[in-house]
């Protein structure tokens, strides 16, 4: 398996796992409090919408010339990946609170308990809409990452396999834990995903713009190392800056 194939599989797996963990928290929070029927119908409806989207987008992308596709996908992955990386650096340096899946689960349960009763089409409308929106929005990110990762390198099956493995793992872990997966090192995974999305975006975006990378595919590893090292330095710098701003008595 080539370097890029391993990184595509790893990137799709990690990115999907993070999104599935967040979707699972929403679904569990609503389902446990308000019942499973409408919640699971919401999950199924969102899954159908996502499947339609994949069925429409997959073949449509295959007619775009590979150079143009890599430029578009690279630009989108860069914009998207830098958002992840930026947030991960802000979290690691203490400027943003760490994402707490357990707190998100508790908040979801409280909101579900306080929401009113509204029946539409024989469904508990709150459970249906919240699980539908949650799965659709988190799933949309998975679809975006899988399609962009897979299409730019012509390895859609590999990226989809990574996402499918993540789905199975998260669902099985969720069923076994019967609760949110708060022990998943989500912030570390998000850092790694941000790094991979940005690196792939840089590699494909530049290739799409006509660049020939020295060392071809091997330079992808150099890009990952360069952006990773830069991110590490930025975390150290901004952490030091934040600690310099904290009053002495708080530090003690």
């Amino acid at each position: 398996m080539s370097t890029s194939a391993i990184l595509i599989l790893l990137g799709a797996f990690l990115a999907s796992a993070v999104e599935f963990v967040e979707a699972l928290t929403i679904v569990l929070g609503v389902g446990i409090v308000r019942g499973w029927r409408s919640t699971l119908i919401g999950v199924a409806a969102a899954t159908i919408v996502l499947a339609v989207l994949i069925a429409a987008l997959g073949p449509a992308l295959s007619v775009i010339p590979i150079g143009t596709l890599r430029l578009i996908v690279g630009a989108l992955l860069l914009a998207f990946g830098l958002q992840w990386l930026r947030k991960a650096i802000l979290r690691s340096s203490g400027y943003k609170p760490l994402h707490d899946e357990d707190a998100a689960f508790r908040r979801q349960r409280e909101e579900a308990a306080q929401a009113g009763e509204e029946q539409r089409a024989g469904l508990d409308w709150y459970s249906f809409t919240v699980s539908f929106k949650g799965v659709l929005l988190e799933g949309l990110e998975v679809v975006f990452i899988v399609i962009s990762f897979g299409s730019a390198q012509g390895r859609l099956g590999l990226a989809a396999a990574g996402a499918a493995a993540a789905l199975v793992l998260v669902v099985v872990a969720g069923v076994l834990a019967r609760g949110p997966l708060e022990r998943v090192p989500e912030n570390t995974i998000k850092f790694a995903v941000g790094l991979l999305l940005t690196s792939f975006g840089c590699f494909w975006g530049a290739e799409g713009a006509g660049v020939h990378w020295p060392g071809d595919e091997l330079s992808l590893l150099a890009v990952v190392a360069f952006i990773g090292a830069t991110s590490f330095v930025l975390v150290r710098l901004f952490r030091r800056q934040r600690l310099g701003l904290v009053p002495a008595e708080v530090k003690a």
Partner: protein, 67 residues
């Protein structure tokens, strides 16, 4: 109209996110890379440098606002 606005806002947040300057900078960097490449310069180095500068600038603005 309201749905159209929400739809546009969703995609804006999805792709551009919190700092539009990063997205704009990336567009400029990709455009420059394309231009240089078509002029015969293999500008593989431009995008990694642009990423570092844009990321650092965005974080600097965010942390200044926070403090």
């Amino acid at each position: 109209m309201k749905y159209l606005r929400s739809f546009g806002l969703f995609w804006w947040n999805f792709i551009v996110g919190d700092d539009w300057r990063v997205a704009a900078g990336l567009a400029v960097a990709l455009g420059l890379t394309s231009l240089l490449t078509h002029e015969g310069v293999n500008a593989w180095w431009l995008l990694p440098i642009a990423i570092v500068l844009l990321l650092t600038g965005s974080l600097w603005r965010e942390t200044r606002q926070s403090s």
